[in-house]
């Protein structure tokens, strides 16, 4: 991390970048590279394409900084730009239209935790499988919204910005997804006192 900008918020660094300071841009790049890389990989398995798009995104930002204003949240602004760029690139190869950029299926990959007992691990795998199943049943848009809301802590307005949706449609899609989550947590645990006891042991 660039030392001169430590203690600065993203938005402060951004306003310095807008004045034509390439060190500020460098700091923004380093700070958000991992986030952008991982977000990009949710749309394509072509990691080189993701890296190219990130580079092009920052070069374009630098070139157009005169026409760029301050932004309330740098992180989400960058994600929105990357998403748009990826959609454009992916549509060139012919598979999709820019509008139909699709979130790749969320998949299950359980962390290895050898210290946890086998039986807990199995129950946990079962629960995760049901959650993956439920999330997979959602539309791709809803999956992306869930990812943004619950993994990257974006609020409805920010999700709307990134995905170019109205706040109302974000709300509707999110509500549906959440009610499905609630259903799972209700059905999975009904009549399963034994599992609850196991969990108690696990979390203590």
């Amino acid at each position: 991390m660039n030392q001169t900008f430590s203690g600065y918020s993203d938005e402060e660094i951004w306003s310095v970048f807008l004045t034509g300071d390439s060190a500020a841009l460098d700091c923004i790049v380093k700070k958000h590279y991992n986030l952008l890389y991982n977000y990009g990989r949710k749309f394509t398995q072509d990691t080189d394409l993701v890296k190219d798009c990130i580079q092009e995104l920052f070069l374009a930002l630098w070139k157009n900084r005169a026409g760029t204003g301050n932004t309330a949240c740098v992180k989400y602004y960058l994600m929105k730009s990357l998403r748009r760029r990826l959609a454009r690139e992916l549509s060139k190869t012919g598979n999709i239209t820019p509008e139909s950029l699709e979130f790749l299926q969320l998949s299950m990959q359980l962390p290895q935790s050898p210290e946890v007992q086998k039986i807990q691990e199995e129950r946990h795998a079962e629960l995760s499988a049901r959650i993956v199943q439920a999330i997979s049943a959602l539309s791709k848009r809803q999956q992306e919204i869930i990812y943004l809301r619950f993994y990257l802590n974006a609020n409805a307005a920010e999700i709307g910005l990134i995905m170019n949706l109205s706040r109302q449609s974000v709300y509707n899609l999110l509500q549906l997804a959440i009610s499905r989550l609630r259903e799972i947590s209700d059905t999975v645990f009904k009549h399963d006192i034994g599992y609850l006891l196991l969990l108690l042991a696990l979390f203590h």
């Binding site: 306003s15 991992n34 580079q55 706040r167």
Partner: protein
């Protein structure tokens, strides 16, 4: 210590502290959540489900090794450097200095030539004794500062950040310079600026921070703002980001009489028309919310007076209206994805009102609503 309101499983999934515990096994967060589970045993199923959701969402996330990120960032910096030196014909490699005029497109050069001409005419035609006297007053202060103060100059192609001894920070633009001087006798921090700079002033109420340019003077206590006073340009401007500043004509500030000035608040700017010698106050083109958490601007049957007050509060821009006329108007609208003017236009349209911007203030004219 934390005190979260967890009313549903989604509150839990979206909780940053909870996520941190699940994903990085953070001990401190873990201690909190273990206690929380002990206090709320009936919510254990939420915890289990939320844990799975977070793990599913985080699956396949990789952290690139730091040297790979550094390499990618370096590649971006190299490309920028390459393009800058290719596209700027006026860039002189020997001195590292860019000659401003050469790097501009042809039509701008004519613009500059024209404004220089204007400046020369204005300078030769209007010669008033009072003006000469005031200009001399400024010159003599500047002369003193040049000798006693510290001079900073930016000849590099990009903006340069300067840390002043009082803790203030200044981003000085290419080709600009400033002199910093502390006047102990009058307890003032004084800056003499030529060109353009963004100031982030360290608060020190006992030592006002005063920025002089040849035409305008800005006086602040602690705040951030931008000044643009480039020699040869016909308009000098000051834009306020946070806090309040007072703006004066330099001639008036340096004269013996009481200085006439006015106050700028965030999202307002002052422009000095050098030819007309007039300062005018306006709003910036795209006002930014000045409040940290401006709310979501969704209203259901809300009195329009309340909406205007919330707008005023969020953007620090004063809105003037007749309370009695508007007391019967109420509005249902979601305004959160529009900018300041978008919000204002929507509300005005709904209540069939119009607005004018006078002196950096929004003035609403409306006929009122039938109840």
């Amino acid at each position: 210590m934390h005190n979260f309101e967890i009313n549903s499983i989604d509150d839990l999934v979206a909780n940053a502290s909870f996520q941190q515990w699940i994903l990085s096994n953070d001990e401190k967060e873990g201690a909190y959540w273990s206690r929380w589970i002990a206090d709320n045993p009936e919510k254990l199923e939420w915890v289990a489900a939320a844990r799975s959701v977070i793990q599913v969402l985080a699956a396949n996330t990789v952290a690139l090794p730091p040297d790979e990120v550094a390499a990618a960032a370096a590649a971006i910096q190299n490309k920028i450097l390459q393009e800058e030196s290719q596209h700027v014909p006026g860039f002189d490699l020997h001195s590292g200095r860019r000659s401003r005029i050469n790097s501009l497109p042809v039509r701008f050069k004519w613009g500059i030539a024209a404004s220089l001409l204007l400046a020369i005419f204005a300078g030769t035609l209007i010669v008033q004794t009072a003006k000469v006297k005031n200009a001399r007053a400024y010159e003599s202060i500047l002369d003193k500062a040049t000798k006693a103060g510290t001079t900073y100059r930016n000849n590099s192609p990009g903006a340069r950040r300067i840390y002043l001894p009082d803790g203030s920070e200044v981003d000085l633009q290419t080709g600009s310079s400033l002199i910093y001087m502390v006047e102990d006798a009058v307890a003032r921090r004084e800056i003499f600026l030529t060109g353009e700079a963004f100031f982030n002033v360290a608060t020190d109420p006992s030592h006002p921070f005063i920025v002089y340019t040849s035409n305008i003077v800005t006086r602040v206590l602690g705040t951030s703002f931008r000044i643009k006073a480039v020699p040869g340009e016909t308009v000098a401007s000051i834009t306020v980001c946070t806090g309040k500043v007072s703006v004066y004509k330099t001639a008036s500030f340096t004269s013996q009489d009481a200085a006439e000035g006015f106050v700028l608040t965030p999202n307002q700017k002052a422009e000095y028309d050098i030819k007309k010698e007039q300062i005018s106050k306006a709003l910036v083109e795209s006002p930014q919310a000045t409040k940290k958490d401006p709310g979501d601007f969704s209203f259901e049957g809300a009195p329009v007076i309340q909406i205007f007050r919330e707008l005023q509060d969020a953007y620090g821009i004063s809105i003037v209206f007749d309370e009695q006329t508007l007391s019967t108007c109420s509005v249902t609208a979601v305004l959160d994805d529009k900018n300041f003017y978008g919000k204002l236009n929507t509300v005005c349209k709904i209540i069939n009102a119009t607005y004018e911007i006078i002196d950096g203030t929004i003035v609403i004219s409306a006929k009122g609503c039938k109840s």
